[in-house]
């Protein structure tokens, strides 16, 4: 497998609408981020270039990034060339209302998705994680539309995208994105039944939909063409009687990485092309670079057999 990162690791210092150095951030009432080792992109710096610098600095192989940081096809090609010059692979990110009703899908969502697929292909991506961009109104727990109806819609909508994916040579990877269970994701992938649709397996997200991560990994593995590496600490009993799920650096939580990585290595269609992108996004008052570097070190030290290009820890 290849080791990469998701841009979400830096969400609180990089996303224009989230970065914690905006004046608006102070009104959320969160603690100040003291003693930080990293700042986000400067005013004259393109976030995508900043990310490439991070990748090179960290010695990683692939970057998960969506279309929001690519303005047009010329821009995408320039980014592709810089990634190639640094021997980096782009794993695209595609936000879709994947369980949209047919009329909504035909009224612009399909066209938007096709445009994004072409843009990601121009940027050099041959894989792209496809995520539900309406997780508040469409997810496992929503009753209207029912989960069965949502899955049927997802099959229909994904199927409509397969011809353009084939045309541009880009495989979509349906991600369990804090919304659906892998059992449901697998249902969709089997229903579409195309070599251009697989799974981007997120190791932590099953927890959010009350699904055991290892059970989910076993179900996802035969279709997994990408992965996001994420850990959570599960605190079942608390003073309020409400369980808490907390971010942790990789290896500090309750996700069984040793077992999951073995399952992916043995069961994924082609582990040699599978990019496992670390997605560790601590709360905004924490130092994301410290968390990320600790996670990278842990992966390199603990699982060298799964990441042959990574060498030992820094």
């Amino acid at each position: 497998m290849k080791l990469g990162i998701s841009l979400a690791c830096y969400r609180w210092i990089m996303y224009p609408y989230l970065r914690r150095d905006r004046p608006e951030h102070k009104s959320f009432g969160w603690p100040e981020p003291y003693l930080q080792t990293i700042a986000g992109p400067g005013p004259s710096e393109l976030p995508r270039d900043w990310l490439i610098d991070r990748m090179v600095d960290l010695g990683l192989e692939s970057l998960y990034m969506g279309t929001a940081y690519l303005d047009d096809h010329d821009d995408a090609r320039a980014f592709r060339d810089r990634m190639a010059a640094n021997e980096l692979e782009l794993i695209g990110g595609l936000g879709l209302t994947l369980a949209a009703a047919d009329d909504e899908w035909q009224a612009g969502l399909f066209e938007q998705a096709v445009g994004d697929i072409r843009l990601l292909a121009a940027a050099g991506a041959t894989f792209a994680a496809a995520v539900n961009n309406k997780p508040d109104s469409l997810n496992h727990f929503i009753k209207d539309p029912s989960i069965d109806e949502q899955m049927e819609r997802a099959i229909r909508n994904f199927s409509s995208l397969m011809p353009v994916c084939e045309e541009v040579g880009l495989k979509l990877a349906f991600e369990n994105h804090l919304d659906y269970r892998i059992s449901e994701v697998v249902r969709v992938v089997q229903g579409v039944d195309s070599p251009y649709l697989g799974i981007n397996f997120d190791t932590g997200n099953p927890v959010a939909v009350i699904e055991d991560p290892l059970v989910a990994a076993r179900a996802a593995a035969p279709y997994s063409i990408n992965a996001h590496l994420k850990d959570f600490r599960i605190q079942p009993a608390t003073g309020t009687g409400e369980p808490r799920i907390f971010w942790t650096p990789l290896g500090r939580g309750d996700v069984p990485f040793a077992e999951i990585l073995t399952v992916l290595a043995e069961g994924a269609p082609d582990p040699s092309t599978l990019s496992a992108c670390i997605e560790v996004a601590p709360p905004p008052e924490h130092d994301p670079d410290v968390w990320l570097r600790a996670s990278i070190d842990w992966i390199r030290e603990t699982f060298p057999q799964h990441f042959p290009n990574q060498g030992s820890a820094s």
Binding site: F141, D212, A237, E242, P243, I245
Partner: protein
């Protein structure tokens, strides 16, 4: 099936060490409730009578309550009389480290010697609560004796160190924890038989129902059965409907509650919140269907409402809403 009450519904109102109207509460940084529609009990002792009042007020048929609160002979005999006079079932509660080592568990000789009965005492103050002076085995035996003496036929035996040992902790790993629970429950089975009281395991924000199923199957005693909690499987990432299908054949009582899932949040950390029954994401009706068809004696199955909103909410309002929902939407299940 029948509807009962779990004491935990009123935890922020009546537990001596948690109630919102003691000064210590404010140090907890929890929010105060400002619009409470039920008065807290007298602060002088365990809220036993007060809880019976709540059961009667809501026209329920059972009460799930801490057996240690019946340590006083006067309280116990009065409680028993009142429960019998009102035809109410008492389901006891006791707790210990179920995954204790053999040494921590203690000498499993039963009956306990007289000096142990003097030594093992239950305390309940605004600052502290629980059993003291005995091994894990002795504590549970004393609680079972108290529950049986007060007329209880079922007692939940709950794990009380979930922060130290649970499904996710690694030292020892879960398989070893299950082995310890099997060994420990085996020592209690003869005690339960002697007292004619059925012990019930409960997934109590610690272990999965699948873990407890393994324990019950290995112990293989009619004196070890299960209390199914409708929402607690969520806390250990176990689907509640899948869970009940595993343990329904062993289920002799339940804690019925609901929880709302919020898988995606601004921080990216999933959240699960208490909810009035019918307002959350637990498939209540589907679970009741499973229990109706798979539980050993559905006619006598008590579903004790355990509605535990956080401290700033009015539990009485949540309980009323939950009862209304259950009596309206699940009427076919109630005797």
């Amino acid at each position: 099936m029948k509807l009962g009450l779990s004491q935990a519904t009123y935890r922020w109102v009546c537990y001596p060490w948690l109630r919102f109207d003691v000064p210590e509460f404010r140090y907890s940084e929890r929010r105060l409730p400002y619009f409470m529609s039920v008065d807290p009990p007298d602060v002088s002792g365990p809220p036993v009578d007060w809880l019976v009042d709540r059961v009667l007020e809501h026209d329920l048929t059972s009460l799930y309550m801490e057996a240690g609160w019946l340590s006083d002979d006067g309280i116990s005999s009065s409680f028993k009389s009142r429960m019998q006079a009102n035809d109410l079932a008492f389901i006891g509660s006791c707790s210990a480290n179920l995954a204790a080592t053999e040494e921590e568990w203690g000498d499993p000789t039963y009956p306990l010697p007289a000096e142990a009965r003097e030594r093992v005492v239950y305390r309940s103050t605004s600052g502290d609560h629980g059993w003291t002076g005995g091994s894990q085995f002795e504590v549970l035996v004393r609680a079972m004796e108290l529950a049986a003496a007060a007329g209880g036929r079922i007692i939940n035996v709950v794990h009380d160190v979930p922060a130290r040992h649970n499904h996710f902790t690694k030292e020892p790993p879960i398989d070893r924890q299950i082995e310890r629970m099997i060994r420990n429950f085996r020592t209690l089975a003869p005690v339960a038989e002697s007292l004619s009281i059925v012990m019930a395991t409960e997934a109590h924000m610690d272990y999965r129902c699948a873990d407890y199923l393994a324990v019950m199957q290995a112990v293989d005693s009619p004196w070890l059965r299960h209390c199914f909690d409708f929402a607690n499987p969520i806390t250990v990432i176990e689907d509640p409907l899948d869970a009940v299908k595993l343990v329904a054949p062993y289920t002799v009582v339940t804690h019925i509650k609901d929880m709302h899932a919020r898988p995606m949040t601004h921080l990216g950390e999933p959240r699960f919140f208490h909810a009035p029954i019918g307002s959350g994401d637990v498939p209540i009706e589907a679970i009741l269907e499973v229990l109706q068809s798979e539980a050993p004696d559905p006619d006598s199955l008590e579903h004790c409402l355990e509605i535990v909103p956080t401290s700033e909410y009015n539990p009485e309002a949540w309980l009323n809403a939950s009862l209304d929902w259950l009596r309206t939407n699940c009427a076919k299940f109630w005797n």
